[in-house]
Amino acid sequence: MTKNKSILDRLLFDRFHLLERPLFKNNLMNIKIENRCLQSFIFLLPVILFATIFFFIPFIKVVYMSFFKGAILGESVFVSLDNYKILLEDAGFWRAMGNTLIYAIIVTPIIFIPAIFLAVLLNRKTKNVKFFRAIYFLPVTISFVVASYIWNWIYSDIYGILNYLLRSLHIINNPILFFGSTWLARFSVSIMVGWKTIGFSMLIILAGLQGIQQILYEAASIDGANQWQKFKFITLPLLRPSLTFALIISVAGSFKAFDHFYIMTGGGPARSTETIIMYLQKIGFEYYKLNYAAAISVVFLILLLFISVLQFWAGRFNE
């Protein structure tokens, strides 16, 4: 079939090549378009199948499931908004929500302030910039599981290196249990996450900084602007899109936190560091209340979509 088509193209080409070009092109195009539709479809089919089966149908199903109640086996019963009503009064859910929010508030400046500092530090034309950038980016490439274990060992109570250093500097007398109390546990995890993700935010901010044209600074110098004025009137306004952007990505990331809390604190002490996803995982896959977990998923989805819309909006801003 395709072979016939290409022979046809050939014939057309031979017949019309003496005619003026626009006509020839149009004819060729019309014949091709039909061919292309089928071909595009074949090229796109696998992606469409994957997206439909493992994304769009589950997406609809999670909403659908949240309106039902049922055992793993047997009939599900339509309960309309009952799962959501339970959710509103579920202390465990709100505690997890609060924990996640507090974590997001703590971790954001821990990532952000050093990231801006590093980006400004590396924004120059020296040979070794790429080397240092790679070093700060290195922890981004490893998994949260591995990062958590490395830091669990650093934070270890008796043999931990951090306790040893603090003791030998006489900052503390007795070893600290870094996951022993709620707030300390939150900060301990956040510092690990800072180490692991500063490099990523740095990269986005650095890309933003490098996009600012040098000529603006030169022009400002000619006008007699000082360092601070240059930073305030050129760098900051032009960097704002990248900053907003990196900020939103990092906030969205904190709301999805699971691996590091699961491994480092296990949600403790007394479930005070349990995140939304940990709660979802527990309800769904330890208690097997799938329909109720679906309702939690939907609420989480709405929350994150809201953040994503902000992100998209910030991305637009960027262009």
Partner: protein, 277 residues
């Protein structure tokens, strides 16, 4: 004045480098200490003896089950990379060069997968995989990873193909080549940086994933390194820090080696993933 600034730059950066690398160093050193030296107070910063006890025990424990985890991770990651490339290259090509009714909406639909956190779909995916009788198999992980990492590939490949001029394609088509042939023989060799970036991104994501592997696998026949390491650390090697550190080093080694060789593509991939996410 200028020299001073240079010096300042290097001193700050070298101090920060030491700070960022310290956790890696500490994990490596701890994994290479003999058992009696790991639990010593005060801890030694430079081990008196190097020992591979921890690694030996890591690999031999439970009839080499840790190697099994490594094998599972390797199978799942490489097959995910293969499937993602196989489906996102033609799709990227179609989105870049071909016409199809509603193709732009379709492209947005594929990108919308990135906007939605996959964590919210774990419940329906679990029931789906359960119905397909694929729980605790490599295939379950490959299917789910492919779905959530392919939009990056599609986006990356579309951009790569966009930067190649259309005239090359048109002249090849007029010469009678089929669309598939044009894509494979003319466009693929030119678009390899996009392919490498996709491979790196997918490898990093699928190798490092924890929650999907935790939920969809339960036995050593399908469990990946990340979940296997967690299982070891919480049961078999509870508080055995020599082995936990050795396990961590082995688990991150492939990624670190790749990063050292192909740093540029990691950074490119992370930036592209972030900007369109």
């Amino acid at each position: 004045m200028r020299k001073d600034r240079h010096l300042e730059f290097y001193i700050t950066n070298i101090l920060l480098t030491l700070l960022f690398l310290a956790p890696f160093y500490w994990a490596l050193i701890s994994s290479l200490k003999p058992y009696n030296e790991i639990l010593k107070y005060p801890p030694s910063f430079f081990p008196a003896h190097i020992s591979i006890e921890s690694y030996r025990d890591l690999f031999t424990a439970g009839e080499g089950v840790f190697l099994f985890f490594a094998k599972n991770s390797l199978i799942v990651s490489s097959l995910t990379i293969f499937v993602v490339c196989l489906i996102s290259i033609p799709a990227g090509y179609a989105f870049s060069k071909l016409k199809f009714p509603g193709i732009n909406i379709l492209f947005l639909a594929v990108l919308s997968i990135i906007m939605v956190p996959f964590q919210a779909l774990l419940i329906p995916l679990y029931t789906l995989i359960h119905q397909m009788k694929l729980l605790d198999t490599h295939l379950a992980l490959i299917l789910i990873y492919t779905t959530f990492f392919m939009p990056f590939g599609v986006f990356m490949m579309r951009n790569s193909f966009d930067s190649i001029p259309n005239s090359i394609r048109e002249s090849a088509l007029i010469d009678g080549a089929s669309e598939l042939k044009v894509m494979i023989q003319i466009f693929l060799p030119l678009a390899w940086p996009g392919i490498v970036t996709t491979i790196i991104y997918v490898f990093m994501q699928s190798w490092n994933d924890f929650i999907i592997a935790l939920i969809f696998t339960s036995s050593k026949s399908a469990m990946t390194l990340q979940v296997g390491l967690m299982n070891f650390a919480t049961t078999r090697f509870y508080m055995n820090w020599g082995m936990i550190n050795a396990g961590s080093i082995i688990t991150m080694l492939p990624i670190l080696i790749l990063f050292i060789i192909l740093q540029k593509y990691f950074i490119k991939g992370m930036l592209a993933g972030a900007i369109k996410e």
